[in-house]
């Protein structure tokens, strides 16, 4: 799997993450013994400034989306990108387990 795209969008009380519908199907085929997640919602204190810190989550979110812990198997996914909607802007990319932040996280 060359690239896994994980959408995310800000809600009033947290952030919703999830793979594209196509990538979800690809994950099920690539890792038949895993249980990929359709979506993960991370709830925060509504009054907090959680939108400034979401960039710390990506490294934990993608294994949960894939359905199993970080391992050699996960290197079958060459690139994991996090795409904010609306706008479809890629704000964070993980390449071959080398965590790389391409663009500063967009806050709010």
């Amino acid at each position: 799997m060359d690239k896994l795209t994980i959408y995310y969008s800000f809600k009033g009380n947290g952030i919703l993450f999830g793979p594209t519908s196509y990538d979800y199907e690809s994950l099920k085929k690539l890792f038949p013994n895993a249980q990929p997640a359709k979506s993960i919602f991370v709830e925060y204190d509504r009054q907090s400034d959680f939108k400034n810190y979401h960039a710390q989550l990506e490294n934990y979110i993608f294994p949960a989306i894939a359905g199993f812990p970080v391992s050699e198997d996960l290197k079958k996914i060459k690139v994991i990108e996090f795409m904010m909607t609306p706008g479809r802007t890629v704000t964070y990319t993980i390449k071959n387990n080398i965590y790389e932040q391409e663009i500063q996280p967009i806050c709010g």
Binding site: Y7, Y8, G18, Y22, S39
Partner: protein, 157 residues
């Protein structure tokens, strides 16, 4: 067909869809203020909640089958959202005909990745043709979503 009649058709479709969910044991509600969502659907026992967008269209008979057109406001498809479901309902020969259910994420991907549909003002227009029980919308096979109540299993009360 007048704009006023379209309002009647839309409301009729919305109420029909509500009745279908009720018959499956799901509770339904209509928002008091119209901000875009047509129906709320809830599985009472475990708080599973969906927002439903109902799109109703009148079929036009063709030589082989029939066709319909659905208009979807672009703003509804700008943001990824797993809680929204689209229900496309077809009215044909004075009866409710086909019902297509699709999660917003799938439609979002079809529009933004596969580029289906035609942009018309602030709407995405889907042209659908139905022939021999196969539904094709903007050259994409929608047949798997026909009567697709997989995410809404019947709840026994």
């Amino acid at each position: 067909m007048s704009k006023k009649f379209n309002l009647f058709v839309g409301k009729a479709g919305q109420l029909y869809v509500m009745s279908e969910f009720l018959m499956r044991g799901w509770n339904v509600a209509m928002p008091e203020v119209d901000t875009g969502d047509d129906i709320f659907v809830v599985e009472d026992e475990n708080d599973t909640f969906f927002r439903i967008q109902v799109k109703t269209a009148q079929a036009i008979d063709r030589q082989n089958g029939y066709s319909v057109q659905f208009n979807i406001p672009l703003y509804q498809l700008e943001e990824y959202n797993t809680a929204i479901y689209y229900v496309f309902l077809i009215r044909r020969k004075n009866q409710w005909s086909d019902i297509i259910l699709m999660p917003q994420l799938k439609l979002y991907d079809m529009i933004h990745i596969d580029k289906i549909g035609a942009l018309s003002g602030n709407n995405i227009v889907l042209y659908c043709s139905i022939q021999n029980n196969k539904i094709t919308c903007s050259k994409t096979d929608f047949t798997p979503y026909l009567n697709n109540f997989n995410d809404f299993p019947i709840i026994e009360h």
